[in-house]
């Protein structure tokens, strides 16, 4: 009988997330009622108040930390703009970035560093485990980008601390992104329009997000949990797990982005898209243009390009790629498997650039093999991502080719394939625009119209009720990206 360690997601506590009953039926309606009634001048204050409540609900002890970061970021912004001395500006931005990285390093990486130092130098003793505040990686990166943009004079420093607080703490994107740049929503923070259409589209996006999370991601997560408790070691089960986790992480994270973008739209903000059908990519390079776009562009603009990007010698370019992908991996979690996960992609990106590009500009030919190549190696990457340690990752990867397996197909794996078969089918339909187009064509054939609001409305209410029913019935509602 095979027993793995519990999956990481199972350690997550229940929190007030968008896909939870307290948010959906208490926080959200009350907030929007007050928000739409509130005069324009008070809207940002209301956002800050409710965002603090939202954050405090789950991380009461870290609310002060977030407030402190807001004050620090606001102050650095003001000082950076006031200062005309180039040297002083450099000192200020270095101090700001160092401080942010120190805070992030302390809360996110101190346990990791201490464990590794202990192993390397055979040290003894313990340090008190540092608890990771929810969303710290997101809001620290946002604040860093704000200060850097003020330093680069890409935007003006915000004089009103409430506006800065609204930017950092805005609850839709506070704990799981997208990583919004201040300069992208600077104007919206000061003045934004609200319309019925915007509220409707935002609400539709939010409901699609919550449905993806609850009806697909959570069920795929259950399937992965069954794998970690398996009594059978078969090749089929390793494949079920690998595909299920690959789909789960996509639906989990993209659903959260959908909910964030939808809620922000209801508030009058246009946030950047974070996912664009990444599993339809034909290269790993393309995959990273479509997956967690806000993080990829953040590292591109604030690390890769300052390092010289690709306008440097080949060796330096290789260095730049490795630095960026080391940081990308490490950003995802304080563990070696995340670092290797990042470096794994660095290797593919270099390989694609060197082997498949003509003059470094064109990507690989478009064909079915390209899709298979991307899906397979991305799937392997997520096994590494999900594993408790490198050995567990290696076991789960070699299990795909039968190493360490007792069977090719077993009763248990077949059962779970049947149990989650429809979830897999629905999930696979949704990873490209294919599923969406089928629905659109179906509606057009039935009604002769491209959009039927009545049908959409019925669908939205239906999905909301079904999602609520799933929430009421069970508490299996982890969110993978909380670790970051």
């Amino acid at each position: 009988m095979k027993r793995s360690l519990p999956r990481k997601a199972s350690f997550l506590e229940v929190k007030m997330v968008f896909s939870g009953i307290p948010f959906l039926y208490f926080f959200m309606p009350i907030f929007f009622l007050l928000y739409y009634l509130c005069p324009k001048s008070g809207k940002n204050s209301l956002i800050v108040l409710f965002s603090f409540l939202f954050y405090g609900w789950q991380e009461g002890r870290f609310l002060l930390l977030m407030m402190g970061i807001i004050v620090i970021g606001y102050s650095f912004g003001i000082f950076l703009e006031k200062s005309q001395n180039i040297f002083l500006r450099k000192v200020l931005i270095t101090a700001a970035v160092t401080l942010y990285l120190f805070i992030l390093g302390y809360f996110k990486y101190s346990n990791f560093f201490w464990e590794n130092l202990k192993n390397i130098f055979s040290l003894e003793g313990k340090i008190a485990a540092v608890v990771l505040p929810v969303g710290i990686s997101f809001y620290i990166f946002q604040m860093m980008s704000y200060n850097i943009d003020v330093y680069r004079k890409n935007c003006r420093a915000q004089k009103n601390i409430i506006t800065v607080a609204a930017y950092i703490s805005m609850f839709p994107q506070l704990i799981a992104g997208p990583i919004v740049r201040y300069k992208d929503i600077e104007q919206q923070l000061i003045s934004r329009k609200h319309s019925i259409n915007q509220t409707y589209v935002g609400m539709r996006r939010f409901i699609m997000g919550i449905s993806k999370k609850i009806l697909l991601a959570n069920q795929l997560g259950e399937c992965c949990s069954m794998f970690s408790q398996r009594g059978e070691s078969s090749v089929l089960f390793y494949w079920i797990y690998a595909v299920a986790f690959m789909l789960q992480i996509y639906y989990d994270f993209s659903a959260y982005s959908d909910m964030a973008i939808g809620l922000a739209k209801m508030m009058g903000f246009e946030l950047m898209e974070n996912f664009n059908y990444p599993y339809t990519s034909k290269s790993i390079t393309e995959f990273w243009r479509r997956w967690h776009i806000s993080l990829g562009t953040w590292f591109r603009d604030y690390l890769y390009i300052p390092l010289g990007g690709n306008r440097v010698s080949f060796i330096k370019w290789i260095r730049n790629i490795f630095v960026v992908w080391f940081c990308t991996g490490f950003w995802h979690g304080a563990s070696w498997n995340f670092i290797f996960w990042g470096l794994y992609f660095a290797l593919f990106l270099i390989m694609e650039k060197v082997l498949f590009s003509k003059n470094g500009k064109k990507e690989r030919k478009k064909d079915m093999l390209s899709h298979v190549y991307v899906l397979f190696f991305v799937m392997i990457s997520f096994i590494l991502f999900d594993a408790q340690n490198l050995k567990a990752a290696a076991d789960n990867i070699v299990g795909l080719v039968g190493i360490g397996c007792d069977l090719i197909v077993g009763k248990e794996s077949l059962f779970y394939l049947r149990q989650y078969g429809m979830v897999f089918i629905f999930s696979l339909l949704g990873i490209s625009s294919f599923g969406k187009n089928i629905v659109k064509k179906g509606i057009f054939l039935l009604t002769g119209k491209k959009q039927v609001i009545e049908l959409e409305m019925a669908g939205m209410i239906g999905l909301l009720l079904i999602s609520s029913a799933y929430l009421v019935d069970g508490s299996f509602n982890p969110f993978l990206y909380f670790r970051f």
């Binding site: 009988m1 506590e13 229940v14 929190k15 007030m16 939870g20 009953i21 307290p22 959906l24 039926y25 208490f26 959200m28 309606p29 009350i30 929007f32 009622l33 405090g56 609900w57 789950q58 991380e59 009461g60 002890r61 019925i196 259409n197 509220t199 409707y200 609400m203 409901i207 009806l215 069920q219 009594g231 009763k411 248990e412 077949l414 059962f415 049947r418 149990q419 989650y420 078969g421 429809m422 979830v423 629905f426 959009q451 609001i453 009545e454 959409e456 409305m457 939205m460 209410i461 909301l464 009720l465 079904i466 609520s468 029913a469 799933y470 929430l471 009421v472 019935d473 069970g474 508490s475």
Partner: protein
């Protein structure tokens, strides 16, 4: 209607839905107990600086909201309908329905649990039974999954392996295989338990092996209200009620039943019809879960005594044993520490029966 107006209507309707739930939540009476799930529902958590700081308040409030959500049962039914109807899941809350029976898909064998059970029984044997020369018997009651899993490609524990393990590890007892006489029809459709009116064959088999005469004439009494077992609530989808019967005669009715609770003794009866309308209708038999119960039969055909280490399945079977035993002691070590049993029971070479369902053995941490 213009598109904009329709969109506005959609927004209003969804907000009405979002507001109606909290309003209903605020103004409806909060139940303390869920009959369908047979559990106490969460109370309103205490608001304090400490609970907020630790994040406990948020977590407890979420549980409170979930437990008292308006139309909770309706939502659970909707979820089950979507889960089985649209997603085609084979189990719902760990249960599946085949041939009209709701069955818990117990899987896999929890090796550490069954080893724990064996150690517990071994300690009891070594501490109280070995020196007294008691004749020990061991019987496992298979769950409904035993009868249906293979037929419908559902998962189940490896019953052969499970039975073999206990047979090999518990060598000091004579094993009686109840699978020889039990069929699926001997169980309630909506409950874990077996039907008492079909257990005479089980009592006969056990009695035959243990040298006890269990043959008797019983009156079959019907409970007029429908019986909904523990799975009916967990299943969430509508199920039909069942008919519950119990077997009785003048010997059973004359038995004296005493429940020992610490230093207090409480007089009981074999059957309590009024318990049928309580939290668990199966409590009709011997008043449900009890740590120590003594059944004394002054009209017994012998002076023999029996001690039964048991779970709730025994409550309905043991009344069929009273004929030949002057005294039967029932010990449920889920509710009393097994190492202090001699404080309450005098072990003096009585017949000993360990009678456990496969469920309890596979989740044996409940044994104390």
């Amino acid at each position: 209607m213009k598109e904009r107006k329709k969109q506005g209507l959609a927004v209003i309707l969804i907000f009405i839905l979002l507001f109606s739930i909290p309003l209903l939540f605020l103004f409806t009476k909060k139940e303390e107990y869920s009959t369908s799930e047979r559990r106490v529902l969460k109370e309103l958590p205490k608001l304090s600086f400490t609970t907020i700081k630790k994040g406990e308040f948020g977590r407890d409030m979420e549980e409170y909201f979930l437990d008292h959500f308006p139309f909770r049962e309706g939502f659970r039914t909707l979820k089950a309908a979507v889960s089985t109807g649209i997603f085609g899941t084979k189990t719902e809350n760990g249960l599946y329905e085949k041939e009209g029976y709701l069955v818990k898909m117990e899987y896999p064998i929890h090796q550490e649990m069954i080893e724990y059970a064996v150690n517990k029984f071994e300690n009891i044997y070594e501490s109280f039974l070995k020196e007294k020369g008691s004749q020990c018997y061991f019987a496992i009651i298979p769950d409904k999954n035993y009868f249906l899993a293979d037929k419908y490609n559902m998962l189940s524990i490896d019953y052969e392996e499970f039975y073999r393990f206990f047979q090999e590890e518990i060598s000091w007892a004579e094993h009686i295989d109840l699978r020889e006489v039990l069929t699926l029809e001997d169980y309630y459709k909506t409950d874990t338990h077996w039907r008492q009116e079909r257990l005479e064959k089980v009592a006969f088999l056990l009695g035959e092996k243990m040298g006890a005469d269990t043959k008797a004439v019983y009156k079959k009494k019907k409970i007029e209200m429908p019986f909904y077992g523990v799975y009916a609530g967990q299943w969430s989808l509508p199920v039909e009620g069942e008919t519950m019967y119990y077997l009785t005669n003048s010997v059973i009715e004359d038995c004296k039943v005493t429940s020992i609770e610490g230093k207090k003794n409480r007089e009981q009866k074999i059957y309590h019809e009024e318990k049928f309308t309580g939290k668990d209708p199966y409590d009709l038999f011997l008043s449900g879960p009890q740590a120590i119960q003594i059944i004394e039969n002054s009209r017994a055909t012998s002076k023999k005594e029996l001690i039964v280490f048991r779970d709730s399945f025994a409550s309905s079977l043991i009344p069929l044993f009273v004929k030949d035993y002057a005294k039967i002691t029932l010990l449920d070590i889920r509710y009393v520490q097994s190492n202090i049993l001699d404080h309450y029971v005098e072990f003096k070479g009585q017949d000993i029966l360990f009678l456990y369902s496969s469920f309890i053995l596979n989740q044996a941490k409940a044994l104390r």
